[in-house]
Amino acid sequence: MDINEYIDSGVLEAFLLGALTREEEELVLLKLENHPELRVELQAMEDAMLSYAQTQSKVPPPALQDKIWATINTPSQNVHENADDVEVNEFETTRKSVVMPFKPEYRRPLISWKYAAMILALVGSVAVNIYLVNEGRKAAEDKLALSQKLDKLEANQKQLAGLLATYQKSTEMKADTGMQTIVMHTVLVGHPMAATIYWSKGSGEAYVAMEALPAPPKGMQYQLWAIQGGKPVDMGVLKNDMANTPQMQKVDKLVTSSEAFAISLEKEGGSPTPTAQNIYVLGKA
């Protein structure tokens, strides 16, 4: 096969994604050795894959860094592990030959058959016990996995029930004639964002849903503003975990009058006046 055909076949991509059998991987590795242009191609793919993985990055809990270092730094952990666990392709690496010291053999008289049978029975019994203990452990692990899966499903179900309740409430509010629905649209070109205010002019009660606002970066928080007499008036900060969900939260303050509503991104805890370039969405009442 010509090298371009080889590249076009998608075998390198399958190799990168770990979808090849060990035999197929070996063939790819051979090809890579003989064709530097394949290596260049593969490296470009690796870079793209890293970038993709980086978009899904998640910062582990801060305490973990010291904990892991403590584990690494414990001498008992510094034993080379079986390379087979480490990487699919790395099976020839850490297997070192062990040199056994040679000792002249000391020959005992032959053990009697009776004695041998006893030892055999003992060994057999120990083996059966080890087997049973292992089986028991495996069953316990399976059970743990099962209950974790169930927990996860249950959590998902709760989340769905919560969403349903939110939708019901939102439908009721929309049906309430005393309630005005104001959709705030994006003011940043190229960033499609939106949030909704449900405002009862009569009672001054208001609810807000940030259904299409991105989660705020660390240390920042969204803040709601009512425009009264052309001036923005603070209506309180919004909970970070409500961003990008259709869930509604009650506005802390009573909104007696308002010409328009806006949401801006502020430092945690809010600001006395909105930061002009951080006003994300705006809607006229």
Partner: protein, 182 residues
């Protein structure tokens, strides 16, 4: 969304081989989030994910001598360690449940995805880029890379011929290269 990796690969390998605290701190700061992200794509439980992350760092630390630059980049090697460790953990914990629960989970995930009005809005726009990957490509990468399916299994699961699996893999990675390429 870590910063792009600018560290020279040879230098990083050298740093790791020195086995110093500084080397570890650098490794951790640069790669813990992306490795943890990979692990979290595979296992759902946070405590298990943290255990796996620890295992992964220990493995990287203890096996850096067995890293062979001929076979790929250092971070590919590390990502693979993370992915393999996570998949191993998942398999050791819940092999029997695999078939049944997976389908249920996927349904739930799809429903909650569909309910989010706008998944594509992110101030930096990265989510958008990722979602910009065609859905069949995204699920292909998920199955192969994060769930450890072989091409045979993917072909059966997605009900497409083996040749098409490979072609699609190529197209998927090509699209990623288009998005992230320099």
């Amino acid at each position: 969304m870590g910063t792009p990796v600018t560290y020279n690969e040879d230098e990083l390998v050298g740093l790791l081989k020195k086995q110093s605290r500084e080397g570890f701190n650098y490794l951790y700061q640069q790669y813990s989030a992306v490795l943890y992200g990979v692990i979290n794509k595979v296992v759902y439980d946070e405590h298990i994910a943290q255990d796996v992350l620890q295992e992964v760092f220990v493995k990287i630390w203890n096996n850096i001598d067995s890293y062979n630059p001929q076979k790929g980049r250092i971070y590919t090697w590390m990502l693979n360690i993370a992915r393999n460790a996570a998949i191993d953990k998942l398999r050791s914990k819940g092999e029997i449940m695999k078939g049944k629960i997976h389908t249920g989970e996927d349904v739930v995930n799809n429903v909650s995805k569909g309910m989010k009005t706008e998944q594509m809005t992110d101030s930096i726009g990265l989510r958008k880029v990722v979602s910009g990957l065609r859905p069949e490509y995204e699920s292909l990468i998920d199955m192969a890379y994060y769930k450890g399916y072989t091409m045979d299994e993917i072909s059966k699961e997605m009900e497409i011929p083996l040749g098409t699996v490979k072609t699609r893999m190529r197209a998927a990675i090509q699209q990623l290269r288009g998005v992230f390429g320099k």
